[in-house]
């Protein structure tokens, strides 16, 4: 196709802004779409044009294919970049774009079909000779049938949404008696997140590492891999920290896994950026888990160590350019990414939407913050809690950890609760520092990561809380008369009486 001149980004938050940044650098105009909840969002203000697409729930806005395509037509966009999540892995959307004469920046619908449904992907990979985690390849007709299968292969098992991603619709079942409730929860979450409640079952591997390989293909069948990302620091199957190179991979394993990943991509005639996820067991055997047919959240760590701009490569691949390189570049230095979530680790990671009253973003050498927020912005309740991702680069892993710690210590978000302190605790944990942490790490070290209480500090906290309460009471007593228009000084009148007067 001819050069892309205008791109509609069918997404929100940090990824929409990330894509727009590269577009701007390449002289490509940008179009945003936004829901009612995102009218004041940063991606709307970053784009050259912005179109309203509906009410806050994504099923009524960002996921309505026709509205996105209408917006693209109205704006005169010649391509749509889907970001991640939302419509990024929706084959019918790719077909709708094609039908409307708009280029979809991503793989062809056929590759998504082959990899999108996880059960079909597993079947395709078995056929292509790629090792997969033992489990079901067909959806189950009933709860009874699913339960019987789980008992046959033996608990623990993993339940996974066939249309899934982002840890939604995913449950580990450790005891047979928990199967029914986990099954229902996984189905309900899958339906809400993906509009598809099909759930399949995999054998749970003990203490596996989650290692994924970034692949890239052009329209002419040239496919390469761009090394791995270690993503074992996960909570509720959601990645929290990612790094590259993986501390457990040898150059031989990297070459072997890269080769298998390329084989998997070629088997489905893949085009553009994709990721092949693997589980690596304690014996360093690796199994295909799934393929993400899109750009991923953690792509910055790959960009840091390869020096490539994956979004620019996606745009060029969509324009029909050939791959600029023929094999994986040697990893250069080390990169770590941490995901800043609007959630409260101290309260079982409850989401914490709300207004950001103060924000200080880290900077300095080799620090990158991909964020979708700004001071005064209200983090809405309708979308994922990830508000920013902080990534760093350094020559060695140890230096990268120190740099990530330093950057996190500069990060200040007020008004909402974030997991910044929790991220610092992860990076300071001996197991993480040693580089041998598996997917059970965050669950197993839960208590340690939340901080063992120091009795002296607890007592100091009580003192601080009393001073805080006292000062708050003093402030209220002072401000009430002013609010009632009676001037300063309460003249000994109870602040409660004054408060009542102001309401009259």
């Amino acid at each position: 196709m001819p050069k892309i001149r205008k791109v509609l980004v069918a997404n929100r938050g940090e990824i929409a802004i990330r894509v727009m940044r590269t577009c701007k650098e390449l002289g490509i105009a940008t179009v945003a779409v936004y829901s009612e909840a995102d009218r004041a969002a940063l991606h709307v203000r970053t784009a050259d044009q912005a179109f309203f697409v509906g009410p806050p729930p994504s099923r009524e806005s960002y996921l309505v294919q026709q509205r996105i395509i209408d917006a693209a037509k109205q704006a005169g966009a010649d391509a749509i970049h889907p970001g991640y999540g939302f419509l990024s892995e929706n084959a019918s959307f790719v077909r709708a774009c094609e039908a409307a004469g708009i280029a979809f920046i991503g793989p062809p619908a056929s590759a998504m079909d082959a990899m999108g449904e996880k059960t079909r992907a597993r079947a395709n990979m078995i056929k292509a000779g790629v090792p997969v985690v033992p489990g079901s390849t067909e959806p189950f007709a009933s709860l009874e049938e699913a339960r019987a299968y789980a008992l046959k292969i033996g608990v623990p098992v993993m339940l996974k949404a066939a249309g899934g991603g982002g840890g939604k619709g995913m449950r580990k079942v450790e005891r047979a008696e928990d199967f029914d409730s986990s099954w229902r929860a996984a189905k309900s979450e899958a339906m809400n997140a993906f509009g598809n409640d099909a759930v399949y079952i995999e054998k749970y591997l003990e203490k596996p590492h989650h290692v994924e390989i970034q692949v890239f293909a052009d329209q002419y069948g040239n496919t390469i891999h761009l090394n791995e990302r270690e993503c074992s620091a996960q909570r509720r199957h959601q990645k929290v920290v990612e790094e590259t190179p993986s501390p457990i991979l040898t150059p031989e394993m990297r070459a072997k896994m890269g080769e298998v990943a390329v084989k998997a991509a070629k088997a489905v005639n893949y085009v553009g950026a994709g990721t092949v996820e693997f589980l690596v067991d304690v014996h360093r055997n690796f199994y295909f888990l799934e393929m993400n047919t899109r750009l991923q959240v953690e792509h910055p760590v790959t960009e840091w160590v390869t020096g490539l701009d994956l979004v620019a490569m996606q745009l060029r691949a969509a324009e029909g350019e050939k791959l600029p390189l023929t094999e994986a570049p040697e990893p250069r230095g080390h990169s770590i990414e941490v995901r800043v979530y609007a959630e409260d680790p101290g309260r079982n990671f409850m989401p914490s939407p709300g207004k950001i009253t103060y924000l200080r973003v880290p900077g300095g050498p080799n620090v990158r913050d991909d964020s979708g927020v700004f001071p005064g912005y209200t983090v809405p309740n309708f979308y994922d809690p990830m508000i920013s991702k902080l990534s760093v680069w350094a020559p060695t892993r140890r230096e990268a950890i120190a740099r990530a710690q330093r950057a996190l210590s500069e990060y200040v978000v007020k008004g909402i609760t974030t997991n910044i302190r929790y991220l610092k605790a992860i990076l300071a944990h001996p197991e993480f520092i040693e580089g041998d942490y598996d997917t059970s790490f965050l669950t197993r070290e839960h208590e340690t990561l939340l901080g063992v209480e120091d009795a002296k500090l607890s007592e100091m906290a009580l003192l601080a809380s009393a001073v805080h309460a006292y000062q708050r009471d003093q402030k209220r007593a002072k401000t009430l008369p002013a609010a009632s228009g009676q001037g300063g000084g309460n003249g000994g009148v109870s602040p409660w009486k004054l408060a009542l007067r102001t309401r009259r």
Binding site: K168, A185, S188, E189, N192, A193, R236, A342, E343, G346, R347, N348, M350, P351, S352, P353, G354, T357, Y358, N381, F382, Y383, D384, P385, V412, K414, T417, R421, K424, A425, L450, G451, E453, D454, L457, S458, E459, M460, A461, L462, L463, A464, S465, A466, V467, H468, A469, Y470, Q471, D473
Partner: protein, 165 residues
Amino acid sequence: MRYFTKQQGQKEAVPVDLEPLGNDQYKLTVNGQTYQVDALMLEHGTMTMLVDGQSYSVEFEENGDEVGVLLRGQVNRIDVADERRLRLRAGTAAFSVEGRQLITAPMPGKVVKVGDEVKEGQGLVVVEAMKMENELKSPKAGKVTELFAKEGTAVENNAKLVVVE
């Protein structure tokens, strides 16, 4: 001035006696120990505190009746009330896991499921926020006596959901 402070997860409230000495100085007594405290409130909910020659940088995060206190990397969630507020709150028993327990929404969200099981730690309500389902558990064994939450409806932060007695 006496404040009652209760750390999250603890059953007993600890009284803290506070005497302002002026010029950001306080005399504070807790657990039978008296401290001379220099506490200077800064911007954005931060405070610098000097106690026995030790310097503490303190961050506060308010959430309803509770305040999150962060110092030297430790997070403490403390419910603070003076004597009058403590009396007012006797009815809601916020200072105890005995008696009547009111479960409120810890964030704005949508009620997905309402249960009526009442064992300690059993799920009562599932609230969906930011695309994740969060189960709120019963703090005690008992009976569900009041139900404010309806499935499928949106709730605000701190909205009343369920009462367990």
